[in-house]
């Protein structure tokens, strides 16, 4: 678990829920609830899960864009969570971020050249003409012509804007790139272009990726190792090909079956989830504002798990407890 470029241990990010006149904290939204993993240099870790599972919060927690409640994050041997102001800024400069919303993540009042050159100017170590030179080179690398420098984001299509986002993420020559759903909002024919681009860049620069997505096929294509997140925890982690060949956690199996296959006539299993009411489980579950059941003890997937048992109610299964073959971890009492 050591000697990785990025090590995350027991990361917890809780958001307090404040109610009442005095704004008292009545509870917590446990967006990230004890996540640990390691990414080795040059590797790509994919983080898969549905909306609300905490993957975006996790990505932001790693660079401290949200305040972390507990845990350790070590990047390149340096502790991120205890870094002070300037040191934190320096660390951030070594991690590139690519966002999902290609329109919202680019400043509409800045030209593309400004946007990509801004990281270089912030660090102030090179002169103006060199900035321009580097920006031009970066844009070429991502497949945009140098004429784009003076144009504004709204003049480009979604795919082109995402390329600008990638160029910006690479501006400072980072070792680690965190991509938060980089292709989810793009058209199908453009997704493939961007994925190929990212793969090429990875090879050329030896980049390490933390790749977050909800599309299983995209993650399988792009990543070496895949971790499946559910309700703030990682429930399964394994090398990509192995995961799809042999998914062990019931949630992973559900996800895989729910993906509509672009092959007509392939039958989907009908009963993906359990929806019957739960008996004998008072005090263990609580409905939150959305009507979603929150598990207070035991496995978070219990309410919908097609394979649940009594034992699943009592204790939350840990990730490392069951290890199947090398590198395949599951957090489930069944396996």
């Amino acid at each position: 678990m050591h000697d990785g470029l990025l090590q995350v241990e027991g990361l917890k990010t809780y958001f307090p829920i404040r109610k009442g006149l005095l704004r008292r904290t009545v509870g917590y939204i446990k967006a990230v609830d004890g996540v640990s993993f390691t990414i080795k240099a040059g590797q790509t870790l994919g983080l898969v899960g549905e909306s609300g599972c905490g993957k975006t919060t996790l990505a932001r927690s790693i660079v401290r864009l949200v305040s972390v409640t507990e845990g350790r994050v070590v990047f390149d041997g340096r502790d991120v969570l205890s870094a002070g102001g300037d040191e934190l800024r320096r660390l951030r400069g070594e991690i590139g971020l690519v966002f999902q919303d290609s329109y919202g993540s680019l400043n509409p009042r800045m030209t593309v050249g400004d946007i990509v050159g801004e990281p270089l100017k912030v660090w102030g170590e090179i002169g103006r003409s060199e900035v321009a030179e580097r920006v031009g080179a970066l844009l070429s690398k991502v497949g945009l012509s140098r004429h784009c420098i003076n144009r504004y984001p709204h003049e480009f299509s979604g795919g082109q804007r995402q390329r600008v986002g990638v160029a910006r993420a690479l501006a400072l020559g980072p070792k680690l790139v965190i991509c938060d759903e980089p292709v989810s909002s793009l058209d199908v024919s453009i997704q493939a272009q961007i994925l190929n681009l990212l793969k090429d860049l990875q090879e050329e620069f030896g980049l390490t990726f933390l790749f977050i997505a909800h599309d299983l096929a995209v993650v399988e294509f792009f990543c070496d190792v895949v971790a499946v997140m559910f309700m703030g925890r990682i429930v399964e982690q394994s090398p990509a090909k192995e995961l799809y060949r042999n998914p062990l956690h019931p949630y992973t199996r559900t996800l895989i079956s729910a993906v509509p296959r672009a092959e007509p006539g392939v039958q989907r299993p009908r009963k993906l989830f359990r929806t019957e009411p739960l008996e004998g489980s008072k005090g263990v579950f609580r409905r939150d504002a959305q009507g979603v059941l929150n598990c207070l003890s035991g496995c978070a997937f219990y309410p919908e798990c097609p394979e649940r048992q009594e034992k699943c109610l009592r204790r939350m299964p840990e990730l490392d407890e069951k290890e199947y073959r090398r590198g395949h971890y599951v957090a489930c009492w069944k396996s």
Binding site: R92, F99, S145, H154, L172
Partner: protein, 310 residues
């Protein structure tokens, strides 16, 4: 590596940013352009009068309080708008009056922007304690009746010496207005900053190590500043009115004509059937404010186009 090579065709002509677009759209609206012309004329007039006084060009009477002719003469071919109590031409007074009104409104605007924008940005971006203090200040300030507040400031400031300069009546007027009217723009900026600061492009800037100062100045301000421009054009009108009221109440320069003073004089005159001074001043204010309002609306429409094919 670039399988598709150049993916963006170079379109002819650049500059498709917010302002060039807005200006282009604005130019197509004839009424707005006419109004802009009117506003510019007023400004030029004010500037001309200012220079005339500074360099002492003798283009008109230098003593406004002197008897120079027939008192209260009605509009005729000699005095197009009639004369006032001293026989001074009302037309001349109206033209000269532009200088005071516009100077006061302009400087008041600049002062209120200089105070309101930074405070709004700080309150909106940092939230927490700073936000609470600033909101408390402006809530308190705006709870006091506007006129009383301005009056209080003006009376206190008049004839005081600041940094070696003696404050004239005009300076007292615009200082008073500026120091009390920044609340509106502060609120607007604060709201916009709060809206924008959690947007992803700000997050992205933080993520590559941008300092907070740079984020506010370089990233947030350009996105928020158009509000200032629109607010400026609409608030200018309010400041002109404020100056009129101040003159009405006796604050301001007694030795120079201003629209407010003219309207003030008209209180007595109307009972005597002398309507031309009041009419001239009111018409001058009305025309200016109307033009500025229409232009301000058009500007806002141009900056927020409704149908934009994305």
């Amino acid at each position: 590596m670039n399988e598709q090579g150049q993916t963006v065709e170079a379109r002819p002509g650049k500059g498709a940013g917010l302002w060039p677009d807005a200006v282009r759209r604005l130019c197509k609206r004839k009424l707005a352009m006419v109004c802009l012309g009117v506003v510019i004329v007023y400004f030029l007039l004010a500037g001309f009068v200012y220079l005339a006084e500074m360099f002492d060009w003798r283009v008109g009477p230098t003593r406004w309080g002197e008897e120079v002719g027939q008192s209260y003469a009605p509009p005729s071919s000699r005095n197009l708008l009639g004369t006032d109590i001293f026989g001074q031409s009302v037309l001349r007074k109206t033209l000269y009056g532009a200088r005071i009104s516009i100077t006061v409104a302009l400087f008041a605007s600049l002062i209120s922007i200089a105070i309101g924008v930074p405070l709004g940005a700080i309150a909106g971006y940092f939230r927490g304690f700073a936000d609470e203090v600033i909101v408390w200040i402006y809530s308190t300030l705006s709870s006091v009746p506007y006129i009383l507040l301005i009056l209080a400031f003006a009376v206190v400031l008049r004839d005081k010496t600041v940094l070696g300069y003696r404050l004239t009546g005009i300076a007292a007027a615009y200082l008073a207005i500026g120091l009390t009217s920044w609340v509106g723009i502060c609120r607007l900026i604060r709201g916009e900053v709060i809206k924008h600061k959690d947007r992803e492009y700000i997050l992205a800037a933080v993520s590559y190590g941008c300092s907070r100062r740079r984020i506010i100045l370089r990233h947030l301000m350009p996105n928020v500043f158009h509000i200032v421009i629109i607010d400026f054009s609409l608030r200018f009108v309010a400041f002109v009115h404020a100056e009129v009221i101040l003159s009405f109440l006796g604050i301001g320069e007694p030795n120079r004509p201003s629209w407010g003073a003219m309207i003030n004089d008209a209180r007595m005159e109307l009972s005597r059937g002398v309507w031309w001074q009041m009419a001239a001043a009111t018409a001058a204010v009305f025309l200016f404010c109307l033009a500025l309002n229409i232009f301000g609306d058009a500007l806002r429409d141009s900056l927020y186009p409704r149908l934009r094919i994305q």
